[in-house]
Amino acid sequence: MENLLNSYTGKIREVTIGGDGLIVGGQNTLPFYLFEGEMPHKPLVAMEVLDIEPTDWPPALTEPLSGVLNDPLKWAKKCEDLGADLICLYLLGTSPDGANKSPEEAGELTKKMLENIKVPLVIYGSGDKEKDPKVFTKVTEAALGKNILFGPAQEENYKLVAGAALATQQNVIAFSPLDINLAKQQNILITQMGVKPENIVMDPTTGALGYGLEYCFSILERLKLAALQQNDTMTQMPIICTVGKEVWKVKEAKVSEAEEPSWGNAEKRGINWEVVTAFTLLLAGADIVVVRHPKSLEVLHALIKELLS
């Protein structure tokens, strides 16, 4: 079977996140193809934490996380105790259309959270193109020396977002809307700002199972093939997929059994939806997946361990 092995010319970049230097990336082979290459660092599973209490989460999520959902610090601590590799804090409360929390509040929360947990921190803004850069300025100052990963840097605001990363020497998430060329373009633009390629993680937009997963899947496969086979340096950044946030808004993951008896047990269905989406994307090339349910974390960790054994 030796003549069935392929070799690759390229390699995924190593990005270091957190004060203690957790490394993501570094593989010189397709996901889990250990028979012909190495994955020196395992793909990571992050858990999602919000800065405001979620109001539209189904019981499948609120029950296992009850008692912490109104306190991001406790929530993050709980996720750390559950074994999350990273905490992914979403600053949804900073959205001008929502609670409109100030950048200062976001900075304060970041500081406290970094004091409270040991695992590295990923921070997503609300996605508001004007507000996010202001929030990131405060967040990155609060996280000085902690080497967080934050974003999204979007087409309209990447200069300001990348600026915050540069000023504080931290890692930035380059966002692109489900398009391989735009994903690459965004990396080029951000590196042209002076950010080092090894400080960039790509978010090429996540589609949930049944809601665009296949588009995301093929973009990930193509990015990884370009990075490994063609040694295209602008596709060699590790990839983050925000699975939980996409999965738990679709009705198949959310609707109760009473409403849809033919779909079976709601909690198990939701977890399966999240695990199947995340695992599919890991097989396509995701380096970090962000999930919501503790059980998903457990199952994904076991799957990764088995494939890397």
Binding site: M1, N3, L4, N6, F32, Y33, F35, G207, L209, G210, Y211, G212, L213, E214, F217, S218, E221, R222, L225, K249, V250, K251, E252, S262, W263, G264, N265, A266, K268, R269, I271, N272, W273, V275, V276, F279, T280, L283, A284, K295, V299, A302, L303, E306, L307, S309
Partner: protein, 447 residues
């Protein structure tokens, strides 16, 4: 591997007699290479050459058919490693495993799942494809009675039976229904081959390594067995994942004919926990499984798997579309809001999901934009005021609603003026940009 016209020409009689309908052998060869002609049109090619050419022209992975009639299940026929290169062709199959040693109650429950675990999604019926009936009781009457029950459901069968006497009786009982028999191994390859040939059924073959698997299929082929399904024998996620990749690679990239068959996987034997069974199965849907055998078909387990298969096996070039029509939510009446959007399936799913979750009676007009989303369709000139107006007129929308108000997506607010010109008497309302804001919008709705 595809042959060139010249490769084919070398094997033709070169007499240019013209009986094939084209004047020269070379011209005929060219037509063959581009699949515009059938080899049979030339009466002078020898059987030997025929065999050689059809072998060379066959797809790298054989398409195997299990079952018969309209429920027949086809697997294999794949030609690429990655779905962005070309559509994955024949969707992998899910098989429900039923053992004859299970209690009568459990057997009934599983048999009923075959029908109850069916779902409709984007105009497709999602369901299991096969029933795998396993002989483990040691009581042949028990097995045969289960085989008969399963047969009555009209699903293609997999007969998993290590006793050839019992297997032969099951083949008698299922004559004409073309079950897949499982499995030929080194010790019984001759007798299993004879059964497969005698009853004209596809045959699964199992070995403990790919090399051994490949020699077994060679042996089967030399006996005349053509429809083969591979079981590489591994029973762990890591090893099966590896084997499936190697089999696909061998067939497609290295043209190894002896591994050019679809593969069967058994996540049900690899792990017992439901969450893991689903995850392993998902892995094999994504990475080259042909048939995936499951322990049960509880809806919370199989719905995600069926949807995953639908996702992975769609044409990567063509956007998925839903039918152009008026969709109704929560029994709308003449006072309910009327929204329009495009027929890109993702747009439709997200919009309809939000409307549904609001539980407010609503009409949703889906305009055919050739599967493009709102903004893309608008910029491509496929979601224009003319198009929306002709949809509104064509579907006699004025008769359904009293209020004469049409809600358009916020992203195409620019169309409001033009649309009001096109549709005298209607008021055009600009709705939210993001689907997530639809429920709030609907709650505020007043006629």
């Amino acid at each position: 591997m595809a042959l060139t016209g010249l490769d084919i020409f070398k094997k033709l009689p070169k007499t240019n007699c013209g009986e094939c309908g084209v004047p020269t052998c070379l011209a005929f060869a060219m037509k063959l290479a581009s699949k515009q002609a059938e080899l049979d049109a030339c009466p002078y090619v020898s059987d030997e050459v025929k065999e050689e050419l059809s072998e060379a022209a066959a797809p790298p992975i054989r398409t195997v058919e299990v079952g018969f009639g309209e429920n027949a299940f086809k697997v294999g026929g794949e030609v690429v490693m990655y779905r962005h290169e070309k559509t994955f062709f024949n969707p992998c199959g899910f098989a429900l495993l039923i053992e004859d040693s299970a209690s009568g109650e459990e057997i009934e429950k599983k048999l009923s799942q075959v029908k109850s675990s069916q779902f409709e999604r984007i105009g497709q019926i999602l369901k299991a494809d096969l029933i795998a009936v396993k002989y483990s009781s040691g009581d042949e009457n028990r097995y045969l009675s289960l085989v008969n029950k399963a047969k009555d459901l009209n699903f293609p069968l997999i007969l998993i039976c290590s006793d050839e006497g019992v297997l032969k009786k099951s083949l008698e009982a299922t004559k004409g229904t073309r079950p897949l028999i499982y499995a030929a191994q080194e010790r019984n390859v001759d007798s299993m081959a004879s059964l497969a040939l005698e009853y004209q059924v596809p045959l699964a073959v199992k070995a403990d390594s790919l090399d051994n698997l490949s020699s077994l299929t060679e042996a089967l082929k030399s006996k005349g067995v053509k429809d083969i399904v591979l079981d590489p024998g591994s029973r762990s996620l890591k090893k099966t994942f590896e084997n499936l990749i190697f089999i696909r690679r061998a067939a497609i990239e290295k043209k190894v004919r002896s591994l050019g068959f679809p593969a069967i996987t058994f996540p049900n034997e690899e792990v017992s926990d439901d969450y893991f069974e689903v995850a392993y199965a998902a892995g094999y849907v994504v990475k080259y499984g042909g048939i995936v055998v499951l322990n049960d078909l509880s809806p919370e387990k199989v719905l995600p798997l069926f949807v995953l298969r639908q996702n992975i096996y769609t044409d990567p070039q063509r956007p998925m579309q839903v039918e152009e029509k008026i969709y109704e939510f929560a029994s709308p009446d003449e006072n309910s809001p009327f929204l329009v959007t495009t027929n890109f399936s993702l747009t439709y799913f997200i919009v309809s999901g939000e409307i549904e979750s609001s539980k407010i009676p609503t009409w949703l007009g889906v305009v055919n934009t050739e599967g493009l989303s709102v903004l893309t369709a608008w910029s491509a000139g496929k979601f224009t005021s003319e198009k929306i107006a002709s949809f509104v007129k064509g579907k006699s929308i004025a008769e359904r609603i009293n209020h004469k108000k049409i809600v358009i997506p916020g992203y195409v607010a620019i169309l409001k003026g033009e649309l009001e010109d096109e549709l005298p008497g209607f008021e055009i309302i600009v709705g939210p940009r993001e689907a997530g804001d639809i429920p709030a919008f609907l709650r505020e709705w007043k006629t």
